[in-house]
Symmetry: C2
Subunit: 346 residues, 2 copies
């Protein structure tokens, strides 16, 4: 951004003061029509573009909101951004991105990097405790915390526990008698909640206090490994609840290779409802999390607390995942006609 034309150049060219140029350009009422015309013409001629950094220093408004997300991996990230952006874009706001690998120190760095450059913050940091955020979030900066509370902050979270219980209930309702779970990373809060929901569900509904758990990492390969392991030592399992769709799909693949019929011999439920879930064979029953909606909601709540600063936050908003019934738990279903889909190529 080297020597570009500033408002001073415009003012000089139009033969007016900087203050007048500023007023003319920003559409204030108290400017003579003639002067405004001259200033605008000069700006056009000089190809003037206001320096937003300087403007925000002076107005104390940046016109951008900061987004701190964990890893930039997979569907979750892009859906979240899309939701936030679609709402922010409508208000003419920009997004300043910062990611970190769950690491607390990195989160702190990301948070600090936002200072003086954003009007508000949307933070999702699944691997740090609530007190950490409460401590490191600048007091005066409006913020919304996604999936992870913070004292005195506006929060919005996916109810992974409820979703997991619903998934288990569905499997049992469909006739499963012995369940297994493919768990996500142990240090991930959502993975923990899903595991907990599975455990409680299995105990309550099947009286099984020691269900089979495979340790996964949310990647498809770990689902495949779990599937292979399960096939070798079936132990009467007839229903699997995977911590997310990617692992479910990987597991389905392993089962197919081993000739296990789904849903005939084994039923499968995933979590998230990523696009792949619809196109897997058999199509995957899953707990849909409308991520983009969460992003949009997060933005709306942020917007509200920016406009009414100092207000105590509303209670935490919990989003309950919705069961999407597909072939992997239902023999009657043969095909699946998704309505909302996604392109990719530019």
């Amino acid at each position: 951004m080297a020597a570009a034309t500033t408002i001073r150049d415009v003012a000089r060219a139009a033969g007016v003061s900087v203050a007048s140029a500023s007023r003319a350009l920003n559409g204030h009422r108290n400017v003579a029509d003639a002067m405004r015309a001259r200033v605008k013409e000069a700006a056009r001629a000089l190809d003037y573009v206001p320096h937003l950094g300087a403007r925000s220093l002076s107005t104390r408004q940046t016109g951008t909101i900061g987004v701190v997300l964990p890893d930039l991996f997979g569907e979750f990230f892009s859906e979240m951004i899309r939701g936030i952006d679609s709402a922010a874009h409508r208000q003419g706001l920009q997004l300043l991105l910062s990611n970190m690998h769950g690491d607390a120190r990195e989160t702190e760095v990301a948070l600090r990097a936002m200072r003086g450059r954003v009007d508000g913050l949307i933070v999702m940091s699944p691997n740090v405790g609530p007190d950490f955020l409460a401590r490191h979030l600048p007091e005066a900066l409006p913020a919304v915390v996604v999936n992870g509370g913070a004292e005195g902050r506006s929060c919005i979270a996916v109810d992974s526990y409820a979703g997991a219980r619903a998934a288990v209930a569905h499997l049992v309702e469909r006739g499963a008698r012995k369940l297994a779970h493919i768990a996500g990373p142990a240090d991930n809060a959502d993975a923990q909640e899903r595991l907990r929901g599975f455990r409680d569900g299995a105990a309550d509904l099947l009286g099984d206090d020691d269900p089979i758990i495979f340790q996964g990492d949310f990647q498809d390969e770990s689902g495949r490994a779990a599937g292979t392991a399960l096939v070798e030592r079936r132990r009467g399992v007839d229903g699997i609840f995977a911590g997310n769709d990617m692992m479910a799909v990987g597991c389905l693949d392993a089962l197919a290779d081993a000739g296990v019929a789904v849903p005939g011999e084994m039923m499968m439920v995933g979590f998230d409802d990523v696009p792949i879930a619809r196109y897997a064979r058999p199509a995957l029953t899953t707990m849909r999390v409308a991520i983009a909606d969460i992003g949009r909601r997060a933005f709306e709540r942020l917007q509200a607390s920016i406009e009414a600063p100092g207000q105590p936050p509303e209670p935490t908003e919990r989003v309950i995942p919705e069961l999407i019934l597909r072939a992997s738990t239902d023999r009657a279903i043969t095909s699946d006609r998704p309505s909302r889909t996604q392109g990719r190529t530019p």
Copy 2:
């Protein structure tokens, strides 16, 4: 960002001048150890976080790069961001995001919004001409243009034409004699190039100067529609090249519903290699575009032109898509073991 503690507060608390505080905090050599300690202590006690907006106004460096992308849709966007971010993050740089819907006016707005807030720009704007960018890109701002040239700018592009020709060649090599193409949106540059590559390939390799073209929009539903239409009036087609994977997968679904055997009666090739391609049944042969790599490369080139301003750009870098052979064009392949995969849940 209301009344937060500034460097003046720190200086006052430590009993030194603002300049000294700044020097101490920024690790300059010429500061007495005692003073530095006092300043740092004061900063810690006051929980001081530097105002980056103010800093960049003074240093003329923002520590962030701007990213202007088309729609925030699907895999492409997130992969691109991921590639850019992973490289930028290593350098401690942030990303300022701006999207637009191909609209030229929106692109201009997005570009203007970057002024004074970024050290460089990565722009992808498939629906505006090269001259548009050349005109609206601030002269002095380093920039890299992805998939769409601009005079005197560093460019990097997917060679969609070459990819399409390779796809057609592959189909023909596998024995296809009569081809059809499902085209992407007519106003999309990549879609056009893929269509052109298909036409040329069909003409050169099969002597077919009037191959069947279905108009799609890069979404899976349009692929499904094309598949249905094709089934109704087969016209001897035995090979389909889809403009992207989503349409290919949609089409595969329609073919499956109609009982058309793939690859037995009909072969299919997609474009992009999104995660779904591996898990579709049959798994989809496709032209892989390593999008994240492109993002990373774009950043590297940007970095270079930031460090050596004024240098004329190197010639446009063309990325050739790679053929990924899967079951949809090969009866011998039964399963597919992807190595690199993606999670999703946080």
